[in-house]
Amino acid sequence: MSQQLIDHPAPESPSRRDVLKVGLGTGGALFVVFGIPSIAKHFQQDANAASIVTEAKTAPFAPNAFIRIERSGGITLTMPMVEMGQGVYTSMALLLAEELEVGLDQVKLEHAPPNDALYANAILHRQLTGMSSSIRAFWMPLRQAGAVARTLLIAAAAKQWGIDPAVCSAKHGVVSAGSRQLSYGQLVDVAAALPVPTPDSLALKDPKDFTLIGTPAKRLDTPDKINGRAEFGIDTKQPGMKVAAIAISPVFGGKPKSLDAAAARAVNSVRQVVRIDEAVAVVADHMWAAKKGLEAAAIQWDDGPNAKVSAADIVRQLEEASKQPGVVARNEGDTGKALASAAQRLEAVYQLPFLAHATMEPMNCTVHLREDACDIWVGTQAPTLTQTVIAQLTGLPKDAVKIHNHLLGGGFGRRLDVDGTVLAVKIAQQMDGPVKVVWSREEDIQHDMYRPYYYDRLSAGLDAEGMPVAWTHRTSGSSVMARYDPPLFKNGLDPDAVSGAAEPPYAFPNIHVDYVRVEPPGIPTALWRGVGPTHNVFVVESFIDELAHAAKHDPVAYRKTLLAHNPRALAVLTLAAEKAGWGRPLASRRGRGVSVQSAFGSYLAQVAEVEVAADGSLKVHRIVCAVDCGMVVNPDTIEAQVQGGTFFGLTAALYGAITLKNGRVEQGNFDTYRPLRVDEAPVVETHLVKSSEFPGGLGEAPTAAVSPAVTNAIFAATAKRIRTLPIDTNLLKSAG
């Protein structure tokens, strides 16, 4: 039994014995001269053997939408959430396999087709992968699905043997009773004829009996990710497929004014120039020709109404709007009164920039649109949304829109939105045959949907002992939810915009949190790894640090006092501080900073250790992270997510900013939108708190926690408070 996702041979050199010749005929048409096999056949074979199948297949035994078992004993598990690096294909498989009583070496995986009725995430109410919700949403349903199948297989064996199911047991795909044994494959026909019990009627395994959950497991997607076999959306190959390069209006809301289509078509291998409302695509036999064609087209743009938008204007607009009261997210006690009588008062403004997702796999989508059907090959976090939107766009019934999902070359929220697929379908509407639309890195960064710019005003009052008696936090910025999930945007309040602000982990006797919605012109906004907490945890954890300093208390001790009512938060803080050697002396211009958060159902504390040189340059040496994410499914993935999530947040804290000038995004590639690189990556230590609490999410938690730990460490090293991200190292130069 293979544990690989893909069971076809690696696509090495297509021809084994013969030289393959691909060339251009006199008319610019691609022709293929070769021995055997043909390139078309090679592509066809690859397509047929596609890694993870999206179309549901039938099997003799399929008691629910997640498990299919063949007579041969082959077990296929359907993955309701998508794999974008977070290890969910392995953790979902672990949940199913634990109760099904099979090993991960016995299963194959497939991507789920779009189907909210079968695969909706119970937290997000749709088949969406995001908000670190997968394990929380599927902890019970997948274990129950496994238990249903196992119960039926045991009942089938008991029936065949004429004995009580209670004396039978299942292990590693075999049902046993005494010396008698039947494999699952031998039982599928009998099991399929039995009535399926309701999931709630079954007892699940006691966690103390888990053999898979909680034990480090090898990821099922790794083998294909080290040899080039893993298939991402951009790797799609379809017979007769063309490749399109795209130029979208550099100003949001603009459109092409004029272009030289003849010049584009004169480029070798270019087939067609397609103009749609907001973009131009050049279709060719390969990407290079398409790119050259796009350049040759020398497109002139009508910039439209956003031609003058600048980052500074957007910030001024936010600053002004944030002076007015917003929609109240939380109000307890009387902050006005408490502030008035406080022994000490503090105020601060914090700002966070627009951010692009910059997934390593640039945006892409392959479409084959026919009169009666549309096939889409893409990696998406939102398969049902994609299907719905494309059905509306094409006028086709939903069933005729087939979504062939893929492994995602990074998601981070970018692939929750379907704008790339919409553009690809609009291009396909003007074409015959399949087309793969691939965005350049510059298009990807300049036509992202961005993490909003946030402008936050805070105030606090301290009593004579320096402890907070009042806390106010007003956040101002775009509402992502009003666009993305309107039912969640109630009475003017965006729950994401205040997530991490309305429920800080600390006890404040008087607290007021409100939200001012400000939609910036000319720049679309979206969810970004860490969502609300990535914004608010930076603000809350920075300001609480300011309070500790103003109170002349140690930042860890101060937080501990305020966390007396919150044992899980207190425990991670205590552990992180201990492991980081909090309080031990450091060299000059070195400092430690701490952050604590409760988000996504998990608790996290981080201690960062930084060094700031006299010229202001910053080196992050070490991040110590303590985690309580409840029961752990795959400990190895926890460590990987802490490292990865931390670096994603650190990248943003150090470098991340999307700015606009004359309506255009000023950043374009990895030189101007800098990612963290290996030589800048600090040591990251992960310490897990053993917990029997309900599992929490972790894909995004460290992204949110790291930036305040770093800026608080900068304060400890330099006495300079960073209130605007990304960190401006010019502010950190030593006076001497």
Binding site: E83, K218, I226, N268, W288, M360, F648, V678, D679
Partner: protein, 158 residues
Amino acid sequence: MPFTIKVNGMPHSVDVDGDMPLLWVLRDLLGMTGTKFGCGMALCGACTVHIDGQPVRSCITTIDSVDASAITTIEAVGRTPAGRAVQKAWLDLEVPQCGYCQSGQIMSASALIADNPHPTDADIDAAMAGNVCRCGTYVRIREGIKQAAAANTNRKAG
């Protein structure tokens, strides 16, 4: 213009403009999609292949510059001792997350340990800083290179 290039030991003839980057020849003409497009400007390393054993960014390597050199891609790097050692370390340590950059990471890492049996942290920084990973697998990349280098050296010693 016709070109014949040698990829993973096999000759392939293509008729394209001489300025076409090797990346797109591999991906769009030869169907070898293990080599990834990330930036198109040699800024991210996702497209790294070996030419005569040296790591190069195929997105800026034009086909007319390749001549008869031996090109090795991720699909065949496991046939080399260093490539095999790196792949094994990547598997053992569970380095990949989304996996998209890992072809390039493995190609750069393989070239490093083939050339330098005992890479220091500074050597790793120098050889790998051109390979971006947005998932943040850098801690395990560093560990993986050290493990692979040790295994590769032991193999030679044995």
